[in-house]
């Protein structure tokens, strides 16, 4: 179980009883802030949407307080719904997430069209609190709900020829105002090496804060790879393709000198236009140091032994 160790020590982890009362604590904190602030201050919206049950909760963010629901659901990069951070929350309401199916192709025993509801009936959901680091040098702590990507990959039975898996986001110009202009080479594509995909930390999220995933966060299912920059987390996935060669991923094609295939969080390798040494946790005033592999180095660094870390941006 060493894989579940984070860079934080056990003593730093919030006891479960306290964690379970975290929302009371948040509410208290928010109430205090409201009382102290001007009366005109807008009350932040709490979690909403259909509730989802989790069999267990794993805190893999060192006991840090999750970023408020309001911030997680209004500050999004989901270019299909517009390129400003607030666009997805405003425009993604039109996305229809049921019924939803995922086409499975490539190096698999049996190519198939997977029905999401059928899949969800057969996998237990768990809650995982992860640090989320965007390539733009901001970060959050997010309580996701979902299941390990490894469970899904095993079920799809890739052949021994499969070395990579590619994820494709829905492309629906009638519901996605952002794709009507050629800002990116649609559809959005991301990918992982197979050993990354079956790593226990790689996660498929279908929920957030105990609720169904809001559309702007990539409903109904998205990828969460906490040791990589956020753009690796393909949203609203409609296709998975297992391949023998490295997939052409969207941002890496768009600007290969700025975004790579691996995109591992690395404070030592700057983005050409800004430093990656520090990040601003949403809600904080000061920037904090960025951790190698976003603080998950002890779990994932071994995936990259023998590779030049400078080429892994």
């Amino acid at each position: 179980m060493s894989v579940w160790k984070t860079d934080q020590r056990e003593s730093e982890v919030t006891p479960e009883s306290l964690y379970l009362r975290r929302r009371d604590f948040l509410r208290l904190g928010a109430a205090g802030a409201l009382a102290a602030a001007a009366p005109a201050l807008a009350r932040p919206a709490g979690p909403s949407g259909p509730a989802l049950a989790a069999s267990e909760t794993r805190d893999l963010a060192g006991g840090e307080k999750p970023t408020p629901w309001d911030s997680v659901t209004t500050y999004n990069n989901f270019y299909e719904f517009g390129s400003s951070k607030e666009d997805p929350a405003q425009n993604a309401g039109s996305l229809v997430t049921r019924p939803w199916s995922i086409r499975v192709e490539g190096e698999v025993k049996k190519p198939q069209v997977l029905d999401l509801d059928g899949l969800l009936r057969s996998v237990p959901l768990e809650e995982r609190i992860y640090r989320h680091r965007c390539v733009e040098a901001w970060s959050m702590v997010v309580p996701w709900l979902g299941f390990p990507l490894a469970d899904l990959v095993r079920r799809l039975e890739p052949t021994s020829a499969a070395k990579y898996v590619e994820f494709e986001t829905l492309l629906d110009p009638s519901r996605m105002p952002g794709v009507r202009r050629g800002v990116l080479d649609w559809p959005y594509r991301e990918g992982l090496r197979m050993d990354e995909a079956v790593h226990p930390l790689a996660f498929v999220a279908v929920g957030l804060y105990g609720r169904a995933l809001p559309n702007q966060n990539g409903a109904p299912l998205r990828l969460v790879v906490p040791w990589k920059y956020g753009f690796k987390g393909a949203k609203s996935i409609v296709r998975m393709r297992f391949t023998a060669s490295m997939p052409q991923t969207t941002w890496a094609r768009m600007a290969p000198n700025e975004y790579g295939f691996y995109a591992n969080v690395n404070p030592a390798v700057d983005h050409p236009r800004w430093s990656q040494a520090k990040e601003r946790r949403i809600g904080d005033f000061l920037r904090r140091d960025t951790l190698p592999f976003n603080g998950y180095a002890s779990e994932v660094a071994s995936l990259y032994t023998g590779m030049d870390p400078r080429t892994l941006y």
């Binding site: 201050l41 807008a42 500050y75 390129s83 901001w138 430093s275």
Partner: protein, 226 residues
């Protein structure tokens, strides 16, 4: 006074009104974005990342006031409006003011005086170098914006110096263009706006050149060769 006094002619009175009101309007226009930013910050209306929002807005208003400054002459030439020309100096100083605040906010809040990072930004990252260059170009224009400096330099030299504002506009747009990740709509909108404003100056420029040519008695053949 007495009823026999002739009424003031209408046009000069309007001109007088414009002379008095234009600076007030310019002050209001110049301070309104700052007030809006402060009001939004107080009511929590700047979203999840207020520091980024403020930095972006200050940059946006720098560009906007540069555009307003450069539109004074075209507005007079096309519509005959003289009020913007009266307050052009103020508009230019507001552009500089928003630019300085944008930079100060980057140094003191966004990077919180992290001088090492700032030094790397200013020497290695083209979009930040171009942004800083914009400010350096605007600085002598702000310093020499007083009547005293116009006298000291002489109008012709002062005028030539202040043409640097065109360079500042180009640099500011490049700064914005190189900053955005993929969606270039907004910086290109500014590029188009400045392009139109530059183009609007061309006829006047040709007229002025024709006048000076006529004055110096040279023909175009002498100027440009056979």
């Amino acid at each position: 006074m007495s009823e026999s006094t002739a009424p003031t002619p209408k046009v000069p009175r309007r001109r007088e009104l414009s002379r008095r009101l234009a600076p007030l309007a310019a002050w209001a226009l110049g301070l309104a974005p700052l007030a809006k930013i402060a009001a939004d910050a107080l009511r929590g209306g700047l979203g999840a990342n207020p520091i980024e929002a403020i930095l972006n807005r200050l940059g946006f208003w720098t560009l906007t006031f540069l555009a307003l400054t450069l539109s004074a002459t075209p507005l007079k030439e096309v519509f005959g409006w003289t009020a913007p020309l009266r307050v052009r100096r103020m508009l230019g100083l507001f552009a500089f003011g928003y630019g300085v605040t944008h930079f100060a906010f980057y140094v003191g809040v966004d990077k919180f005086f992290d001088w090492r990072t700032i030094a790397v930004d200013l020497t290695k990252r083209p979009f930040i170098m171009v942004g800083f260059a914009t400010l350096l170009v605007l600085l002598p224009l702000a310093v020499t914006s007083t009547d005293g400096w116009v006298r000291r330099l002489g109008y012709t030299r002062w005028k030539r110096l202040h043409r640097l504002v065109y360079a500042a506009a180009v640099l500011a747009v490049v700064h914005f263009l190189w900053r955005v990740k993929a969606d270039h709509r907004r910086p290109l909108l500014f590029a188009a706006l400045f392009g139109a404003l530059f183009a609007a100056r061309l006829p006047g420029l040709f007229r002025a050149r024709a006048r000076s040519r006529a004055a110096s008695g040279r023909t175009s053949r002498e100027l440009f060769g056979a």
